[in-house]
Symmetry: C2
Subunit: 246 residues, 2 copies
DNA sequence: AACATCCTAATGTCAGGACAAACTATTGAC
DNA sequence: GTCAATAGTTTGTCCTGACATTAGGATGTT
């Protein structure tokens, strides 16, 4: 059952060895070289074939198990998960998701201000009294069709924001370029009925279904960087995710 | 800056050392002994204090970073994340969630049958033609108030299902008792408007907002065990989750 | 033929060491 | 006084080695 998953490990590359293995196995699964349900060779042999140590091999497989591509069972072996399950929900922006999908999103900035944060926003972003934030509302369209209505608050002591850049690129892209390294975000997904303000902007009728999302994002220094409330047309958007049992 | 997080490591315990560390640090964070934003001692000293090796200590911290409680930065140190962010979305059932919350869920089984799977269900569960499945619809209430309307399909070659057990406990509990070890699930969350069938059952009006969830669960052998379509009253339920950047 | 027991193979856990890379803060030079 | 080089601290990566635990098949017995 020699799997012959012809991986190439480049020891001079700056990218870590275990990550090269992750990428290689991911590729093998996506190209169909590793079929769903098939068993991999055992860790020790695989490590030996690639001239890697077992801990390195294990670290790679750990990542793949966590991302839901592989399933391990003690005493048995490691299997490719037998499904068309796709990528888990990642910490990314709508703009990135759409861009990666080949669509071309556009953004209308409906309002923009640099104002003092009220109590609820200060609490969400853990800011002291009197702190100022950027507050803006955007309408995201794809293919000319409105998809999302987004209201956000961003702390102003990180990078400068303006209407023009928000209209031309995604918020997370701007912040990343400004040196923000996002680490985690907590979000809540629910549903609501389109009201008289939302409906015309999203080119739907009051009373139609909307998906709602509230999110607060934290950077690698532990600062709350951004919080926002988004609504999406339910007929055009849903959240897909893969949950992995630890 | 001796943190003195008085951890007790029991080497005779059957639970892994790194997991004991995870639990200890989690507890220290939740009790407030480790304050948000505070820095931990470095890995090497911590490991030495507990008479553990650095890899074991690192494995524990890896878990905590992945779950979003800690943030590490090379050359700087490890910090407790400065927020009230809570547990990520886990692979659990609604029944478990409600029970853990102290609520007492009840279940009405609206329909139950053991029937041949149609094409779409066979595809979702990857079953061969002619295979039979359990198909049932349940109404979940908490405190007498209807919360969720759930339609599920379960393969029948794992454990026997009947109306009585579905009425008295959660589906995932039954399956787990039947020897199923869930490994991952892929789900999609969206929104819709209550129709004339759903509204009276959920004691709401047609046209009100519902959260929808479609899920397919896979066990540790890679089999698709269960697929279902659930709707929740939007005013009573939403999905909360924490996303962690890898 | 049915059952309990042993054996093997595979993953799970843990140790100890070595070097690399990144960030901070200090030191030094201009 | 400002800026750049440098040293030190901390996490990141990788190695070798060892033993424990579990699942499942093979073996032997009844």
């Amino acid at each position: 059952m020699a799997n012959q998953l012809n991986l190439q490990i480049d020891r001079s590359s700056p990218i870590p060895l275990y990550h090269q293995v992750v990428q290689g196995i991911e590729a093998a699964i996506h190209t169909g070289l590793l079929e769903p349900g098939s068993r991999l060779e055992n860790e020790i042999d695989l490590a030996a074939q690639l001239n890697l140590s077992r801990p390195t091999m294990r670290k790679a497989m750990d990542e793949l198990v966590r991302s839901g591509l592989l399933v391990r069972k003690r005493g048995v072996g490691t299997q490719v998960v037998s499904s068309q399950v796709r990528r888990p929900l990642e910490l990314s922006s709508l703009y990135d998701d759409l861009s990666n999908n080949g669509s071309k999103p556009t953004t209308d900035v409906l309002s923009f201000s640099h104002e003092e944060a009220d109590a609820s926003i200060r609490k969400a972003l853990q800011l002291p009294g009197g702190a100022k934030v950027y507050h803006f509302t955007r309408l995201r369209k794809v293919g000319g069709k409105p998809l999302a209505l987004m209201e956000n608050w961003v702390r102003d002591d990180i990078t400068a924001l303006d209407e023009a850049s928000l209209a031309s690129q995604g918020l997370y892209g701007i912040l990343r370029n400004g040196g923000v390294n996002f680490r985690l975000a907590s979000q809540r997904i629910g549903a609501m009925i389109a009201n008289d303000y939302q409906a015309p902007l999203l080119e739907t009728t009051p009373g139609s279904a909307l998906v709602t999302m509230e999110r607060t994002a934290v950077d690698d220094t532990g600062r709350m960087v951004e919080t926002g409330h988004h609504v999406y047309r339910a007929d055009s958007y849903s959240f897909e995710m893969t949950l992995v049992q630890r």
